[in-house]
């Protein structure tokens, strides 16, 4: 994957734009672009963590029990 940054036009809520500009003004972000870059990096991390949590739990599921529950649901839906 290229390290070169790409240009992107986005539309954001006014309060989030104001917060991003505040981060820049107070020196907590180098630019508004950097602030949104950081936010997306954080979201990507959180989403990966959540997917991993779901996978870990579903790996512990009893597949036969899950199949029985699905069959019972199918029977009720067919009524």
């Amino acid at each position: 994957m290229s390290e070169r940054k790409s240009r992107l036009t986005i539309t954001v809520d006014p309060q989030l734009e104001a917060y991003a500009e505040q981060l820049v003004e107070t020196g907590q972000a180098a630019s508004v672009s950097a602030a949104f870059n950081d936010a997306m990096t954080e979201k990507a991390y959180r989403d990966r963590h959540r997917r991993g949590l779901w996978k870990a739990r579903s790996d512990q599921a009893d597949p036969l029990r899950v199949a029985r529950m699905m069959a019972a649901i199918d029977r009720q839906l067919a009524q």
Partner: protein, 150 residues
């Protein structure tokens, strides 16, 4: 085969609580539905109820993980019209806001509700103009019933 003709299934608070508590079989069930492209609906206020029950970061991560599934959609409470419709459902059924939002979504969309606790829906369901289609998540081989998991 589930959800005839791809009819969305609505998850109620009891199912979301089981997910928030990390119940592997319920999470496995939801994941299996998603892998079969079965549309699932998550009422926003039912999620509030589940989060209040569990109160942990991991529980909230598990609940938020629902939205990362390919075929699950959150049903928000949007606008004054939906808010007053929810108030009407609460007044008529006596349900708490978490379950009442599930009932309001099911009533408007005419979709079945998946639950671990079907008994709680009997009376409220009858108070609505059209009866709700309540589907119990149960394991026929479990004498205790899978509702005991939640």
């Amino acid at each position: 085969m589930t959800g005839p003709a791809g009819i969305p299934l609505i998850l109620d608070t009891s199912v979301l609580i089981a997910i928030a508590r990390g119940d592997p079989d319920i999470i496995g069930l939801v994941q299996a539905y998603d892998s079969r492209a079965q549309p699932l609906v998550i009422p926003a206020l039912a999620t509030v109820g589940a989060s209040l029950d569990a109160r942990s970061e991991e529980a909230d991560d598990l609940l938020a993980g629902l939205e990362l599934l390919g075929h699950a959609t959150a049903a928000p409470l949007r606008g004054v019209g939906q808010a007053t419709r929810l108030a009407d459902v609460i007044a008529r059924t006596g349900l708490d806001p978490w379950d009442a939002h599930t009932a309001a979504v099911a009533d408007a969309a005419v979709c079945p509700v998946l639950t671990l606790h079907p008994a709680k829906w009997h009376e409220p369901g009858a108070a609505l103009d059209a009866p709700l289609h309540i589907i119990e998540i149960t394991d026929p081989d479990d004498p205790e019933g899978s509702g005991q998991l939640a």
